[in-house]
């Protein structure tokens, strides 16, 4: 204990002996830790935002389709929303809310343009709660009821079609007999989604109006569910998917498999990033400590002459490295915390918006610090840093006292 106290105070004081050098290397550690945590938070935020967008963007947490629908999203692959299975799912206590939709590929025509879109026939009351559309109508209004004859389209689509609120456009799709089904709709609302592709892809009409247009009698294309907790998604999906083989119950991750891939990719790239940052840091630590050891060669000889065992010398130098890392980690975490706090809602990346939208991302990316990421960053630096510090410490302990003392 005595020896430890001595070693600790020696390590601590030695740490501040060459203040400038220590501060420089501390700065490297702090910035490294900061870079790790903030990058992780940014990437996590990006994933989080993508997940949120996906869930918000009509995908929900869980989706129910006809078993063939995803292969062929046509009108015939629809299902009865009043079946026993469906009501069992929608009444499950884990389900927070749900929305039923007629979802069909369609063509929208204006006087000047024609483009392919996805037509969503929705129950406005339910839909506006579950997806982004509820708070995204920026002009006009959302649909009033399932039999509303209006249409709500995205701002980008309106621009593309060279049309606007109050104008009529024509939707064209296929009816249950594979004949062309078409109808004129007046634009009653324009919505603004985080992403242009969303705005260009989806138009909202009343579910009853859509059903009448394509000749569907009660059947729908999909139900999306939002659960109380994302942790419940997998168990619920596993359980419900077995109920009825004509019905496909899937989680949003299955719907957007690239998201999962993306998450894995980010985890990997994050780890590589950690290693790169750490390597830079490790060079700093080793360099500084080796220099310190070299400068203090005589002192280590002296310690040995006074009877300090080599392993205590090793420990003394190592402790110095450990203290340096601990101080660096504390400051780095604090700095990260400050920068995350300072950015508030997130970073506005609209400068890069075009690129971001291409990879399906919003303009504002929040920082999301997870306990795991914090741990990984801190543990990486702590463990690898300590291992790094071991080398100079070992060098110090291996000095031959006579040589060390004669070298002045």
């Amino acid at each position: 204990m005595n020896s430890f106290l001595l070693i600790f105070s020696l390590a601590w004081r030695n740490l501040w002996r060459n203040k400038r050098r220590t501060l420089v290397i501390l700065l490297a550690i702090v910035l490294g830790v900061w870079a790790m945590i903030v990058t992780a938070a940014f990437m996590r935020g990006m994933i989080f935002q993508m997940l949120e967008d996906t869930v918000d963007n009509l995908a929900g947490h869980v989706q129910i389709h006809h078993s063939q629908y995803l292969d062929d999203p046509v009108i015939n692959n629809s299902f009865d929303p009043d079946s026993h299975t469906i009501s069992r799912i929608t009444h499950d206590p884990r389900v927070l809310m749900w929305s039923d939709r007629i979802r069909l590929p369609a063509v929208v025509l204006s006087e000047r343009e024609t483009t392919g879109i996805t037509m969503l026939g929705v129950n406005p009351a339910r839909e506006s709660k579950i997806s982004f559309i509820g708070k995204s109508v920026v002009e006009g209004r959302f649909l009033n009821s399932s039999s509303d004859t209006g249409i709500v389209i995205g701002q980008a689509l309106a621009d593309k079609l060279e049309t606007r609120l109050g104008k009529r456009i024509v939707l064209m799709s296929q009816d249950i007999n594979n004949e062309i089904a078409d109808r004129g709709f007046r634009i009653v609302g324009i919505y603004d989604a985080p992403l242009d592709p969303t705005e260009k892809a989806f138009v909202f009409v009343g579910k009853e109006t859509a059903a009448k247009m394509v000749g569907l009698k009660g059947a729908i294309s999909e139900i999306v569910l939002r659960l109380h907790d994302t942790d419940m998604v997998t168990p619920l999906v596993t359980e419900m998917d077995q109920l009825d083989h004509t019905i496909d119950v899937m989680s949003w991750l299955e719907v957007e498999p690239y998201l999962e891939l993306m998450i894995q990719m980010m985890d990997t790239s994050m780890f590589i990033w950690y290693l790169i940052v750490f390597l830079a840091m490790a060079f700093g630590i080793i360099n500084t400590l080796l220099m310190a050891v070299f400068e203090r060669t005589r002192e280590f000889g002296l310690f040995q002459a006074l009877g300090q065992k080599p392993r205590f010398i090793l420990f003394q130098v190592w402790l110095e490295a450990i203290l340096m890392i601990i101080v660096g980690l504390l400051a780095g975490n604090f700095l990260s915390w400050i920068s995350v706090m300072a950015t508030g809602d997130g970073i506005d990346v609209s400068v890069f918006a075009r690129g971001m939208e291409m990879i399906n991302m919003s303009n504002i990316i929040p920082f999301v610090i997870t306990f795991n990421d914090l741990m990984i960053a801190n543990i990486t630096v702590a463990v690898l840093g300590m291992l790094t510090g071991l080398y100079p410490a070992w060098r110090a302990s291996r000095l031959v006292p006579a040589d060390a003392i004669t070298r002045i």
Binding site: P105, A106, V107, L109, S110, E111, R112, E113, T114, T115, G116, T149, T163, K167, R168, I169, V170, L171, M172, S173, Q174, E179, I180, D182, R183, G184, F185, R186
Partner: protein, 250 residues
């Protein structure tokens, strides 16, 4: 909107509807024209000139029609397009390309695309919505034109009609020759206009033999139809309007 292809090839049919041209009610005028058109068969040969600022293309074709909902168009020239064709049955349209030897059903997603590169869209050609039910027709004016009465009719699509135009204005003579068909957007701005520049009497019927579709904002872009041979009430073999016939030109 009436069946555009029929309109292109067969608006002369209005000429055959001699009887009630005196109708002063626009709705009735069109109804009578269409009613009288039912069951009539036709064969025609025509050229379609597609004009662009830096190029021009002429396509020669033959067409058979039966009533409002059946028509077959077969390209005869230029060589590279020879034997390709389009078949229209009700609202559906199929295209045949001999090079790939395949018949493709034109999906609704392609309905807005140009038909054979012209200023007509597939949609323009294929749509056979009920012109009576989808519009409110108003007789705006009655004029004189080369000794004929000329009816100027405004057709405004109904709220839920699958028509994108704000209004259409037709100029129809009492002998049912369509002189002009203008399409306006919902702000009342002219988008495109079909005009007749040649009227002939063939087999005792007065018909428009040259018509041009002109985009309002692009003076140098237009498509012109010129009919050289037209026969009515011919006997058309039963298998004419079938997919196998589309694929195997006679």
């Amino acid at each position: 909107m009436s069946h555009r292809l029929l309109q292109i090839f067969s608006l002369w049919l209005f000429a055959g509807l001699s009887c009630s041209s005196q109708a002063d009610n626009a709705q009735q005028l069109i109804r009578q024209a269409i009613d009288n058109y039912r069951g009539i068969t036709s064969y025609s040969e025509a050229t379609m000139t597609i004009h662009r600022p830096d190029w021009q293309r002429v396509i020669a074709m033959k067409a058979w029609t039966e009533g409002l909902d059946k028509s077959l168009v077969r390209i005869t020239a230029p060589k590279k397009d020879k034997d390709s064709g389009s078949l229209l049955l009700d609202d559906n349209m199929w295209s045949y390309a001999p090079k790939i030897n395949r018949v493709i059903k034109i999906p609704s997603s392609m309905s807005g695309q140009s038909w054979m590169g012209s200023d007509f869209s597939n949609n323009d050609i294929a749509r056979a919505d009920d012109i009576i039910d989808n519009y409110t027709h108003t007789l705006l004016e009655t004029k004189n034109h080369n000794g004929h009465k000329l009816f100027i009719i405004q057709s405004v699509p109904h709220e839920d009609a699958p028509v994108v135009w704000g209004k259409e204005v037709l100029q129809i003579r009492d002998d049912h020759v369509l002189l002009e068909h203008a399409f306006y957007d919902q702000d009342g701005i002219l988008i495109k206009k079909l005009t007749t520049s040649e009227i002939k009497t063939i087999s005792g019927k007065t018909i428009a033999t040259t018509q041009r579709m002109q985009k309002a904002d692009k003076e140098n872009e237009w498509t012109e139809f010129h009919s050289s041979v037209i026969k009515f009430n011919i006997i058309i073999p039963k298998n004419t309007f079938t997919l196998s016939n589309l694929r195997n030109p006679r």
